[in-house]
Amino acid sequence: MASKDVKLMAHLMRRAGFGASRERLDELVEQGYDETVESLLSAVDRPTRMTDNLIRRYHPEYSGMMGNQSPSGNWMYRMVSTDAPLREKVGLMWHGMFATGYSKLANGKVLHDQIRMFERHGMGSFKNLLTELSRDPAMIVWLDNSENHNGSVNENYGRELLELFSMGVGNYTEQDVKEAARAFTGWTIGNTEYMTLKSARDSVWPYGRLSFHFEYKEHDHDSGEKEFLGHKGNLNGEDIIDIICEQPATAAFLSRHMYSFFVADEPPVPEWPYKEPRDPEAIAALSKVYFDSDYNVEETLRFLFKSDFFKSEGAHYQRVKSPAELVAGVLRLTGEFDRPKVDMNPTNLQSTYMGQWLLNPPSVEGWHWGTEWIDSGALVERVNFASERLGNIESPGVQTLIDRILSDGNGGMNAEELIERALDELSVSDISYKTRSALVEFAEVQVNQSDSGKPGPEQVANVLKLVGATPEFQRA
């Protein structure tokens, strides 16, 4: 039975990472909670040359980025293999919030570049991140800022920057949207016509995809006077971002996103104007750190992971795993991708089948999270994926799980003990009576199938399958 410390560490690792094996949890408990938080936060500058080289050698598609699966497959492999999981989690948070998709861009490389940008800048200053986002070629084409010209304003980016990326609806006027859009005129990509034409035609000819690059076109920038949220002047994009970052609405909006992503599911964003946050005090505390730290994401996360509202048992399991988290979490446990393999693409597709095609969100609103991840089709995919992989005796990680479970009961193991051990190894605690009793009954049949009264590897694998199929396993 896991101790309180182990449960807390498991909670931290599910949120700041993709979960951890029971063995690893013991090591981390030994290391200490605060130290673990620090090592998660600081593991951002790891060398990536070898990981990148391995992916590119075996999966040319993830290098040349011609296919529509390329950026998500590349990212999934990195999520599964990384030793800095928080960086990828933060990337997932920004990807959900700044959702940009393949459907319009038809260019995997520029989407990949955006995720790498999140990895470089996603833990620093939010102001800097918004600046990078506004210069990000994928974002520029996705929200039509390449069509936003001096004298012919396209409001798409200006609007979403305020509505979805920083302040939330109700905190600015339509005039502010127009003025923000004007301020971002001239922020475009180089060779605009050819690049957008290649995307619109989904053309890989003659020589594959070309990456986009940011270009500021002074002559296409509206340098007239603007008034944005009460500030007047010849405002450019950077000035707009400065003003946005100073807003309490931005602090609250960002804090609620962080809370929802790392602490407990909030309702999807469109409901925010009508529903109070689950924990308004936590949002206020996070907002304070945001301002005190000069909009620093890392500082805000440090505070979050060390806060009582995060550590509280009331927050444990209060998130539904996103498909990407579920897939990456299971694969890190099974250990089957110690290096790039042929199966990487079909395996990455599982997340798509479950309703999250990374880098191809349904719209700029991103995915609706929480229980909305789980419709009946998606649940079948989730259950079948987790149970198949966790019960696959061939996988090195599963062998380790089975060995550890079996090594515990020298004098035999009854059904209850077997279930207890399996739940513990997979860090599924807080399980309902209904689930537990059904599992125990299943385990009884499994135990009885062995003559020794002690289950063998196959029976344990069957039990692991069923734990992967529980309602409780769907939560993070």
Binding site: R201, P362, V383
Partner: protein, 378 residues
């Protein structure tokens, strides 16, 4: 076992990759066609003539028998304003029926919601294939995705039959009602129970099916249409069926590849209609076939690149066969950037099928009125 009253069903087949309309319904008497398609044209000698001006691709023999029986409607010049030649964006436009902004739900998802507003039947809509096409997606609308009907369901990887039955039984108990659970777990378990029931119903379909029709083995579209037939004949309340046939992105080696695809599809569709007929159910289903775009008028030496202006098919006993719309002119002055100019908005076909066949107000689904074809027998 759920039994439902027999109601009109819609089968949608998506041709992924951009079907070359010009080599599907061939303007074989048009000189511009031959001039533009120097490498990959079809001739009078080998097309299947329809009316002395147009002919079907020679591989479409089985479709010709549907044509002769008056069950095949061919809609020419299908598209939408400001054509997009990206597979993904254009397919998205067809899926959502919105061409000027990125929408968040699919037209068939909205249709399923209209058919079953309370989500009482988790298999009102089924996709045959993995993952959920955007066409079927709508918030809160349950849709099943069936990769393989024979093995569909929970934990199909468990080989031992007894163990799997037990595992599925345990699943049903784990997801059963439990008042002690919090709201999140309640929601998850209710959905799980729905998935379990849907799978349980679908499981019965292959068992109750028998037919003299032998669909082509090892041809996914044939197998998917057979699965659709099984579910349709099982009367479990499914109204919207969706499947895909991939490989139409014929940039190279087009003659051979395109012919193979249309042979597979025509044969499978003809078998499907015959299967329904054999069971006295030919009047219950309409099949619609579409692709995200057509291809360039001029070939590239061995294939064709992405274009616009496509062809769609609507077929089945309830359909009034014939040509609908006009074949777009190939004259240089009428071309749009080297492509055929569309003259029928694809949403007109959606509106026709929704209104005249499914009995649903198309404006509710499409947010706008589109001109319909007089295509369905009433």
């Amino acid at each position: 076992m759920v039994t439902a009253q027999r109601k009109p069903s819609l089968v949608v087949i998506q041709l992924s990759g951009g079907n070359d309309a010009m080599n599907t319904v061939v303007p074989y008497t048009n000189g511009i066609y031959h001039d533009s398609r120097r490498a990959i044209h079809l001739t009078e000698d080998n097309v299947i003539d329809l009316n002395g001006m147009l002919g079907l691709n020679p591989s479409m023999g089985p479709m010709k028998s549907l044509w002769d029986a008056g069950k095949l409607a061919i809609v020419q010049g299908v598209g939408y304003p400001q054509p997009n030649r990206s597979h993904f964006r254009s397919m998205d436009i067809w899926h959502t029926a919105e061409s000027d902004h990125i929408a968040d739900s699919g037209w068939l998802g909205r249709t399923i919601r209209e058919l079953d507003p309370d989500g009482n039947n988790v298999i009102t809509g089924i996709n045959f294939g993995r993952g959920l096409p955007r066409a079927l997606h709508a918030k809160g609308v349950p849709v099943a995705s069936v990769g393989n009907l024979e093995t569909y369901g929970l934990m199909p990887d468990i080989v031992d039959r007894m163990t799997r039955e037990m595992a599925v039984d345990v699943f049903a108990r784990m997801y059963g009602p439990d008042d002690t659970r919090d709201a999140m777990l309640q929601a998850i378990s209710e959905t799980g129970m729905g998935a379990y029931l849907g799978a349980d119903i679908l499981r019965t379909a292959p068992a109750s099916y028998s037919s003299s029709i032998e669909y082509e083995a090892d041809v996914p579209i044939a197998q998917n249409l057979r699965d659709i037939s099984q579910v349709l004949l099982a009367d479990v309340g499914t109204r919207v069926f969706y499947t895909q046939h991939a490989g139409y992105d014929t940039h190279a080696g087009e003659l051979e590849n395109h012919a193979k695809l249309w042979h597979e599809l025509s044969t499978a569709v003809n078998d499907f209609i015959a299967d329904l007929e054999e069971h006295g159910r030919g009047d219950d289903a309409v099949v619609m076939i579409f692709s995200e775009f057509g291809r360039r008028i001029q070939d590239n030496g061995s294939g064709t690149d992405h274009g616009s202006g496509g062809v769609a098919f609507v077929l089945g006993n309830p359909v009034k066969g014939g040509l609908y719309g006009e074949y777009p002119s190939l004259d240089l002055s009428e071309q749009v950037e080297g492509d055929m100019k569309f003259n029928n908005d694809f949403r007109g076909i959606y509106a026709t099928v929704l209104d005249q066949w499914m009995g649903i107000n198309p404006q509710v689904i499409l947010n706008k009125n589109y001109e319909q074809f007089d295509m369905i027998r009433r």
